[in-house]
Symmetry: C2
Subunit: 457 residues, 2 copies
């Protein structure tokens, strides 16, 4: 099925499934619903009314519901209501049957009381697995890993391993990489299912496996984990604790979400937005989320205005000076944002190392100066042609060169310094850097204008 065909087909299937729910036809519903991919089931679920959802819970086992709850993509404020209409015992059963990493995500988003209720009502083994996962920070390897894994004993034969895999396959998220442990559960090797299939049945796992295994620590940042998985083209990477015990794996599908999410964070912050904006928000919700930034920027803008009012005399004498305020502050803002974008991306992908920071700052300054000179010459020529005012031309193009150079340095140094002292550099968002550069560039402009004042009059 192509995408369009699938869309059409999927709409028909969705309507059919909803019809069966409304007609209370359990067999009809199960016959078509359970044929679908879990992701598609989650899509249908999200279009249902409360009443239809209640019917669905009657028709499906908690395990069947858990399978597509694993695929739900909810906004942070939607979790709280998710279980409002579900019997608490049934809800606890669903959560316990979900993939543990997803269960943890849900429990972290709901109220403490609900969380403890659900944990107390669910199967003990599930609850204790989930509790132990909840100890990890959300954005670390521990926070995104799954513990439902198959590990092989180093002393097994290939035949024994294959039998073990056949038994365990239904309960584990990833069976294509098998991690090999010694009797103390230390991670000692890796073998892919591909290698197992090609290997001789009587070989020992210890001989067939690869000993050089790349792992991550439970506390490693999820972005570092993503980088490793992407670099090595892994389908999964093992997670170990500080004693090198195998505690879980992070799979490629979780990594795709991490890459998507982290890129979105950098992007939102460059635009000066909070992360949790959604296209389904109302105008009021959107305004609420953006206001804190915008009010902060209004105050910073007023600082600029207050500063400029000191130059009232200068401006009164040469009114034309004010016509170039937007172009100077705008160009400083643009170059500053470019440098900022390079720095934020470089920090978050780990491309910028301690040693290369000075080099980067120097590079940006050089580029700011060079582009400043070229744009300065362009603007000088335009001013000569339009106003026949060489002194004005020198002031404007001179401050353009100076402020574009300074802006690149501000755009590079501020995020790097914030990162150094442990503040998330993305907080130095686009608009703040831009407004800071506004102030500096206009100071340069009026300082230069005052110097040349005599020849302007």
């Amino acid at each position: 099925m192509s995408r369009d065909e699938r869309d059409i087909d999927f709409e028909a299937v969705t309507n059919e499934a909803i019809d069966f729910l409304n007609k209370e036809d359990m067999d009809g519903f199960r016959a078509i619903f359970l044929e679908l991919h879990n992701y598609e089931q989650s899509e249908i679920y999200q279009t249902l009314s409360d009443q239809e959802k209640n019917t669905l819970y009657k028709f499906l086992s908690p395990e069947e519901t858990a399978d597509f709850f694993d695929h739900l993509e909810l906004e942070p404020d939607e979790y709280e209501d998710l279980f409002d209409n579900i019997d608490a015992r049934y809800a606890a059963h669903i959560i316990g049957a979900m993939q543990y990493d997803n269960a943890v995500d849900i429990l972290n988003e709901i109220s403490r009381e609900k969380m403890t209720t659900f944990l107390s009502l669910m199967n003990k083994d599930d609850a204790s697995e989930i509790r132990s996962l909840m100890n990890y920070e959300e954005d670390t390897a521990g926070g995104i890993m799954t513990t439902e894994i198959i590990s092989l004993n180093i002393l097994m034969t290939v035949r024994e391993a294959m039998r073990h895999i056949k038994e365990m396959a239904p309960d584990s998220e990833m069976i294509y990489y098998l991690f090999v442990t010694d009797p103390e559960n230390h991670l000692v090797g890796i073998i892919s299912l591909r290698e197992l299939i090609v290997a001789d049945d009587d070989d020992y796992i210890g001989d067939a496996m690869t000993e050089r295994v790349v792992s991550v620590r439970v506390s490693d940042d999820q972005e570092e984990v993503a980088q490793i998985v992407r670099d090595y083209d892994f389908l999964a990477v093992p997670v170990v604790d500080y004693q090198d015990h195998l505690v879980g794996i992070v799979t490629a599908d979780d990594i795709m979400d991490v890459i998507h999410e982290e890129a979105g964070e950098d992007y939102s912050r460059l635009a000066g937005m909070s992360d949790n904006e959604s296209t389904s928000d109302s105008a009021l919700e959107t305004a609420k989320k953006r206001l804190p930034w915008l009010i902060g920027l209004t105050f910073m803008g007023m600082i600029t205005a207050w500063m400029l009012s000191f130059f009232e005399d200068t401006l009164a004498k040469v009114v034309l000076l004010s016509a170039f305020i937007p172009v100077i502050s705008g160009m400083a803002g643009n170059t500053g944002t470019q440098s900022l974008a390079v720095a934020i991306r470089g920090i978050s992908t780990g491309e910028i190392k301690e040693s290369s920071k000075l080099k980067l700052a120097g590079r940006e300054l050089g580029s700011g100066f060079l582009t400043g000179v070229v744009c300065g010459i362009v603007i000088f020529l335009i001013i000569i042609v339009m106003y026949q005012e060489p002194t004005l031309g020198i002031i404007v193009s001179g401050s353009l060169i100076a402020s574009m150079s300074v802006a690149t340095i501000i755009g590079t140094i501020v995020p790097l310094m914030m990162n150094k002292v442990g503040i998330d550099p993305a907080i130095a968002s686009g608009p703040f850097i831009t407004t800071a550069n506004d102030i500096i560039s206009l100071l340069i402009y009026f300082a230069l204008a005052n110097v040349f004042m005599a020849s302007l009059l």
Copy 2:
């Protein structure tokens, strides 16, 4: 190994490998180099001098070299030189032995002559596979798919299928999803290796497989493909031609790169940068890449200046007006960029559908108006306190409300319209929208100022 341990260990291994190359010790080199992951081999390769690379080519077979060439991450301008020091026949052999999708990427980046030379020198089968892949656009499913796949015949038994997989495994990129075809090579089903392992040996593939298989077309955009793989948590998705023949698959590792790349594109364009900037560029190279944007913006800035010069009389009478130019244009720029970011992201992730465009524009306008009112009140109060000028307060806050509302509309509508007529909306990059909003917001400001002129004097 944790990340730090690996880094230390890896540095030692790298130095050892280079030593062996310089000592011309082939056995020593091969013993440690071939133990490494292909990605690590590619890392070492990129640190080698030309002479060391030449020794490496002598020590490794083209196939062994191809394995880590698959992992090379090169800048567009580095491809041309890649094969400069390699014998053309050996180079052709390497390219032919690479994964076909990666081979195509390389051939697309080098000169036409080199490309045809390499294609004529390589094994005929490889050349014809690669040639057929080169017909697809780079950013489509066809451009990123691999054709080295295992497909199963619908009439096989599970036992026959497993035997077939064992034979084919060494030559195929992905063996964990098996796609099932009928005798005319139409895609008719899918079965995972997991399901095969658990299934009974005598079952027929046709009975064990899932018939509902999600596929993409060769011409589908890579971003759509990424969306499907991410939604469904696939490890691979099959690619079909217009007659539903199975022609290849796109694997999760390629999708991770797509997600990374596309997010980077949106990000760069929001900052008004070209895509191909690299942190290793020199100041001059960086300046060259950024100049086209910046010169364009200089001209747009001069339009603003030219426009403002018409208000010279107004400015001469009330000099304080110019103090608020930066805050008004700045706030319009900030809100416009936020709307632009939402629109670009929404378009590129496919979240914004035809039907929801008007809704989004209305939402943004509403949010622009609401935030404008709040920021307007804040600025009105500040002006009353600082300057005791209610009329000035009304002009500034009134134009803030108007220009923030308009800026959100410009930021939303322009990219949506560009997308509609088939222009990449990301070209409407941050700085351009910001400068356009500068002009409009200052026009509003001076229009309002002229209306209230009498009471200001």
